[in-house]
């Protein structure tokens, strides 16, 4: 089971400098935060989906489809009911609440899609190198990449531990919230201890690879700005400016 998001493809989005892609991602986050109305947010989502299509990254959407759908559903339903408003729709739901809920749902989905496209088209090592060039200290940038690396390891441990305890008769799927909470102890203790031991191993292995031995570090991987980065940055900046104009001037 491959739990990494990166898709090894050769597209122009993959070939962009990681710093360019970081700018595009944070730019899209900014736009998502600026708006509450559904229409411009849907426009943003459309742009992001187009960006992801060019980078052939949307295959990963299939893997998190249920997550996106449930976030959207929870957001729309809860805002409709609790946001309040003057136009009643159904029971306590209002028209204003529904619109706000749709906006909030599209906002979250857009940000997830944007992050997903970034991680699907950028190697972890490129992200680290990009962050270093942006003057983030190597240790901090590497900690970020280690965190990404640990996710599949921890999920793998969790799956094995759950299978082992189910084999002993632990019912992890039924019962009330309190009963369920009790079933988590036999799961969490081995997962936690295993992860702790794993981190200890990781630290020893890192040291033996000379991690932290020199202040100045070299890199086999090369990144740099090319014409395509200039084009992408210009398009991104123009889109950002247009959205800001839409929000504050129009």
């Amino acid at each position: 089971m491959n739990l990494f998001l990166y898709l090894d493809r050769d597209t122009c989005v993959h070939r962009l400098d990681p710093r360019t892609k970081l700018f595009l991602m944070f730019g899209s986050f900014a736009v998502a935060v600026l708006f509450f109305a559904p229409i411009p947010l849907l426009l943003l989502l459309g742009v992001l989906l187009a960006y992801g299509t060019v980078g052939r990254a949307l295959g990963n959407l299939r893997r998190i489809w249920p997550l996106l759908l449930s976030i959207a559903a929870v957001s729309i339903v809860s805002w409709s009911v609790f946001a309040g408003g003057s136009t009643p729709l159904l029971w306590r739901a209002t028209r204003e609440g529904l619109v706000y809920g749709i906006g909030a749902a599209v906002k979250i989905v857009s940000m997830i899609v944007s992050g997903l496209v970034f991680l699907s088209t950028t190697k972890t090592e490129e992200i680290v190198l990009g962050l270093i060039r942006l003057r983030v200290p190597f240790q901090a940038a590497f900690a970020f990449s280690l965190a990404i690396r640990m996710v599949p390891t921890i999920i793998g441990t969790a799956v094995t531990v759950t299978e082992a305890q189910r084999s002993r008769g632990l019912d992890t799927e039924s019962g009330g919230p309190l009963a369920r909470l009790r079933t988590y102890i036999p799961l969490l203790v081995p997962i936690f201890l295993h992860t702790l031991r794993n981190t200890d191993q990781l630290a020893k292995a890192l040291e033996s690879r000379g991690f932290g031995a020199r202040r100045e570090r070299t890199s086999l991987l090369e990144i740099g700005f090319h014409a395509r980065d200039a084009v992408a940055l210009a398009l991104g900046a123009m889109a950002l400016a247009w959205f800001v104009w839409l929000r504050f001037v129009w």
Partner: protein, 587 residues
Amino acid sequence: MIRLDDVSFRYRAGKEPALRAITCHIRPGELVGLLGRSGSGRSTLAATLNGTIPHLVRGDLTGRVHIDGEDIRAKRPRDLADRIGFVFQDFEAQLFSTDVSLEVAFGPENLGVDRAEIARRVERCLGLVRLSHLRHKAPAALSGGQKQRLALASILALEPRMLVLDEPTSDLDPAGRRELLDAIRALRQAGDLTLLMIDPETDEMGWADRLIVLDGGQIAMDGSPAALWNRADELDALGVKGFTLAALAGRLGLRERWPDAASAVDAIRRGGWQAVAGGAERLHAADGARALGEVLLEVDGLIHRYPDGTEALGGVSCAIRRGEFVAILGQNGSGKTTLVKHLNGILAPTAGDIRLAGQSLRGQPATVLSRRVGLVFQNPDHQIFAERVWDEVAFGPRLQGLSEADVRRRVEEALDAVGLADLGDADPFILTKGSRQRVAVASTLATKPDVIILDEPTTGLDFRELQGMMALIQRLNAAGHTIVIITHAMDIAAAYARRVVLMQGGRILLDGPTREVFADEPRIGQTGLTPPPVVQVGNRLGVPALTLEELVSGLTRDAGAQGRRGDAPTGDLGPRTSDRIPGTSRP
């Protein structure tokens, strides 16, 4: 060059010193095998050589460690990374990158090596471990053997002149182990690398220049494999298995040292030994002596596909009878673990059916099935969570809703059966790996299942612990439990299992009585496995023996030969009993 002068170490939490006044000198270019039971100080000794002790693992270190004449007390492992490299057992924890070539580059990058030189080193080191064709793959997508070779390459890229390998093959399947050992042999030929290797298998260390056996933190034996060849009794007293072929030579009164099964066969023939007439028939007849129980588990055309479409099982059928002792063999990825996870409902079949005592498992949840089919996972640390051994073992019976009196009875019985009756109050986490494995077996035993399945029950155990674990499993089988084990240890399968199921690519390749399966060396070879040395020698001499005792008693010296004659010494038949249940189904 490595020199230790009077080195002692005590872990911060330890009562006893882990190393006691070790003095030794390892010459440049030497290949040293480090042997010893678990807790003898092997890994501790290795950890002092690159500063892991005392810089990452705290405790009291006294004495001097010199690398190339320099006292390394003040050096951290990272400062020594370009002089002494370390490869660990856990290959997953050694890989950090998303790309094979970047993984190899990571070390030299940390040392500030210039880019062109890094590129050269990456190519050279990937070539040395034969992974060049995978240079742009994700390390996570590699097999175990490939991952460990990648870990080796990524250390070699730092160009150390000394290399410490701490049980590098323990978590690998037989194919992965051979790939790694081949890579290490190639390294030896390529340059004058000094190698220190910890390996639990003495038989794997016959090619070393020198073997050092530790016991209680001290050097107990130190000599060439030739010098240690005939000292099996002393090794045994130190909890280390002697050379298998040396034991055979000793029993036959032959004094030579044999590097492999083929040379052993020649020497035994030259010594005048041959198969006893009718011996093969007697061994086969003894196998079929015990009556069969009824069919308990029936696997019928089982197919399993993972969500991503890979077919893990491609139509597996077999039947297991009550009281059987079955070993499932095969490389990683052959479908062994996937198969047994179906037997207790953890996985559901994509197609086909499994019946327990005639009743289909379809729709029965694992929580219910666990009472009838017990599955002991490979690593006890994936399941132990309680603060007392007693509570850990009581977990299953309590989940079944038994009364406290019944729970107590079950736990006491189970702890008694695994030999931990006195440790009910102990904290499982301070126990040795072997004892934790026993706690896991007791936890399953206490739920009183009809069938007990053990996934690699001996991985990570030393020779003594391994013998104890197998004796326990055999006792359970003799007491009427149906046993299924998954194992990579061919000698264990040969010595203990009555039936072997050999898997390859999600299918059963061979299924039959252990003796018959092991006699079919060409087909076993197809899966990249090899029978244990004793079986190989026996097959070539016409004695279908599964243990040393069977082989020795199946040989006789002809009248023309000098020295001892007549039947070889008989006696204890080892773990094997004469009543054996043959397999019940054939592919």
